[in-house]
């Protein structure tokens, strides 16, 4: 329901009003689009045109060569196979991390609203405040812990012939992102479930449903909006993370997209191929852009359904 649903005003001023509103929205849209526009046109220009031309001008002689190069030929360190291979590395990391942190957030939110215990507010407060820790300050202690995981992995390798995931760089990154994403996912779900009618939970209990049954049959089916919000939020943050990714998974076979992109873009010497850089940047951002564009509608709906309620 729109807050502006009801507006009964004279017809003339209404038309003027509409013009002003649309005008303002369009101006803002143009301003917001400038960086994207710059990136797009640059990625379609040749190097001489970039060096001598205007940043905002349309390409005189559009070429998709930079895109081809960024996709399949640009050098990431010593391997020059473009950035397409790093998609898979990122996906292997992002999907489990998002899934696990969302599920845990949902369970936490469920417990913190429907199965309250003494001190539940303190627990929630502590988890929420954890969102504010600067990641730079956890980098080294976390590395030490991950190193211990690696040692454990070697023990398991000797004992069972497999490391059970301990010491695997991708698993490490998933773990790190789950740990530092929990605060937000818990916040989202707690606020959502706070507004969820407790009567339904009670009714299910009377019917003899257990803890997990209630979660699965009563809450989860009604959680779609907030799941969308959480997944979008987590997906974007984890996909775009550079600090943890570069510190814990630098080598080629597990290197996530952001690190690869950074290696393409941040060259210390040589002619900077801005067109290739921009194309690579846009390719790397494609998944998050798609998520926002496709799920944008549900995003607002999800926020509406609870995430914004204090």
């Amino acid at each position: 329901m729109s807050a502006a649903t009801v507006g009964a005003r004279p017809a003339g001023s209404r038309v003027l009003n509409r013009i002003v509103i649309y005008g303002l929205l369009l101006v803002f849209a143009l301003v917001y689009l400038i960086p994207f526009f710059v990136m797009l046109v640059t990625s379609l220009k040749t190097m001489p045109e970039i060096q001598n031309g205007n940043m905002l001008a349309l390409p005189k002689d559009p070429t998709i060569q930079p895109w081809i190069k960024a996709w399949g030929e640009a050098c990431v360190g010593l391997t020059c196979e473009g950035i397409h291979g790093y998609f898979w590395n990122s996906i292997k990391m992002v999907v489990p991390a998002v899934a696990i942190s969302t599920l845990l957030g949902a369970l936490n939110g469920y417990v913190l609203t429907k199965w309250r215990f003494k001190g539940h507010k303190l627990v929630f407060g502590l988890m929420l405040f954890a969102c504010f820790i600067p990641f730079q300050s956890v980098l080294l202690p976390m590395a030490t812990v991950l190193g211990q995981f690696g040692q454990l992995g070697k023990v398991f390798t000797n004992a069972f012939g497999m490391n059970l995931g301990f010491g695997n760089s991708t698993v490490n990154l998933v773990f790190v992102h789950v740990v530092y994403g929990l605060g937000f996912t818990t916040l989202f779900f707690r606020n959502y479930y706070e507004a969820f009618p407790t009567e339904l939970v009670k009714a299910a209990m009377v019917d003899g449903a257990g803890f997990f049954q209630i979660f699965r049959r009563v809450l989860l089916p009604n959680s779609l909006p907030i799941i969308v919000v959480t997944v979008i939020y987590q997906f974007t943050n984890i996909w775009n993370d550079f600090l943890f990714a570069s510190s814990y998974a630098g080598s080629g076979d597990v290197m996530p997209m952001t690190v690869a992109l950074n290696n393409v873009v941040n060259t210390s010497t040589g002619v900077v191929e801005y067109n290739v850089n921009m194309a690579a940047a846009m390719i790397a951002a494609l998944p998050t852009l798609l998520v926002y564009i496709l799920a944008g509608r549900y995003f607002v709906r999800g926020l509406m359904a609870g995430a914004v309620k204090g």
Binding site: A3, V38, K114, A130, V201, K202, A281, V308, G310
Partner: protein
Amino acid sequence: MTSIVTDRMQTPERATQRKSLRARLQEWLPKIVLAPSFAITLFFVYGFILWTIYLSFTKSKAFPSYTLTDARAYQRLWRWTFESNPPSSWYTSITNMVIFGVLYIVFCLAIGLFLAILLDQKIRGEGVLRPIYLYPMALSFIVTGVAWKWFLDPGLGLEQTMHQWGWTSFHFDWIKNKDYVIYTVVIAGVWQASGFIMAMFLAGLRGIDSEIIKASQIDGASPIQLYRRIIIPLLRPVFLSALIVLAHMAIKSYDLVVALTSGGPGGSAWLPSNFMYEYTFKRNEMAVGSASAVIMLATMSAIIVPYLYSELREKNR
């Protein structure tokens, strides 16, 4: 709000007397489910905070050292705090944090709310406009930093474009100016986050009960009065959520400064997070870096904890 469900949880003694093992497990289950998350948070957040506090009292340089010394890291920060002529890097960082934090939050809220109100006027093409405002949030600054850097560069970007279009007196060189560079960081930051805030406000607006609005309109309120007196006050919870999101992004704005300004002229664009990273990892002065992290966290808690406290208390009523 405290429900019957929770009451039962709070008095397990009464129930346990003749409960089967299974039922008792059921009772403990919620806590068991929550426990790992909580334990992880305690160890990996609060444990690490304690570790950082400890390090700030040591002589840690390139690597952590565990021999305690006095509070010399804090003494240095204290001295740097009052060393404003010429400004120390720390002084620059904290003053920038105040400028950036206030402007970033205020502008994001204002633009976010403004756009949300506009979009909420039954706009055709909302589906196209909304992602345009939202997309900056989807991109990392590794990606957009270069584009912004160009755009703000007087020799390449806006200024040059205006000159080419004939407006030769146009001048915009903030990114090259030590006194103004922090405002360019604000611009890019607001660009990135305001769309997200817009989405939050839009959701808030759509969630308002239309009966309230109808009632006030019958009372003869003009649209502006309607927004000022009725709707915006109703959005209070959204303001608070937005504040939390923005505050945490402001504190963590590190990439923004690096990608856009690489520190700014003479380090004039630094934020405390840059200071901390620089001292911990680049200058091998881990004790000073840790001390600055502790001060950041302490300041944060001074702002956030009272808010959390009041919010969580309120819910109790």
